[in-house]
Symmetry: C2
Subunit: 173 residues, 2 copies
Amino acid sequence: MKTIACLLGVVVALTGVLCYMAGAPGYAGEEAAPIFGIKIPPGYRDWAVVSVAHEEGSNNDLRAVLGNDVAIKAYREGRLPFPDGAIIARLAWSYVSSEQNNKVFGRAQSFVAGAPINVQFMVKNSVKYATTGGWGFAQFKDGKPADETTLKTCFPCHEPFKAGDLVFTHYSP
Amino acid sequence: MKTIACLLGVVVALTGVLCYMAGAPGYAGEEAAPIFGIKIPPGYRDWAVVSVAHEEGSNNDLRAVLGNDVAIKAYREGRLPFPDGAIIARLAWSYVSSEQNNKVFGRAQSFVAGAPINVQFMVKNSVKYATTGGWGFAQFKDGKPADETTLKTCFPCHEPFKAGDLVFTHYSP
């Protein structure tokens, strides 16, 4: 009986591990980004879409902006400033021409997401991040956080958008 | 006591309606698309992102491709063909230059999602849609389904992608 209970325990534990792996898409990482101490929020890859964009220039990317439940609710209700607990994620992929799709369209018109570039997060905490407009900033590439020099550029760039609580992206219905 | 119970009932009912409205983003519609009889799947606007794309030409859009749980699981496991119950949504918005963002970047490099164009769905049902590769197709604009002529163009366009089970979009991590 003890052996069966033990075996059951192992099966349950293994199932737990497998379920965790299957249910943990996107990049996971235990390492916190500098300055703001933000780790990759678990499950962010399943968050709802705020909007999408294409940046030319040195970025040359396609991007999806996602929000956790708090952020999405605030967006849909038009609530500004965003409440504490809101997290906004920006996923960027390289901007590549799709040979597969262009064959169907008969012309080079289709651009799709290529390799992942990086993932950025804005975390709202009006107390903890009071000196940067209530937002903490983080950036990760393959699960590894960007350095302090990179993160110091976030706030000055977002600061002009005071009317939108420092958030560039508008919600797309 | 009866009056209080009745009033409570009204409050509960109204709260229910308000919660439903707040929790039902995206377009809702009771009208089914022709040929395949597909209605707008409830809650699709909360589905996880498969990928994003930009189509030039007559489309001139930015698009997000989302999947329901069945579709996302299949994508992440690399499972082909997609199992019955998988639904893939394609949301398209007009491709517009962002004056707001370009001011920050100091050059015209930022393109964002403008007005919604339409929403398309692919619904996997290998029995019901056996004659169209196991997929049913639908398109809606402001909740209203596209006509039969439009929907007749879906399958011939998707048909060449037999290796990918007729699905153009690849999953972006």
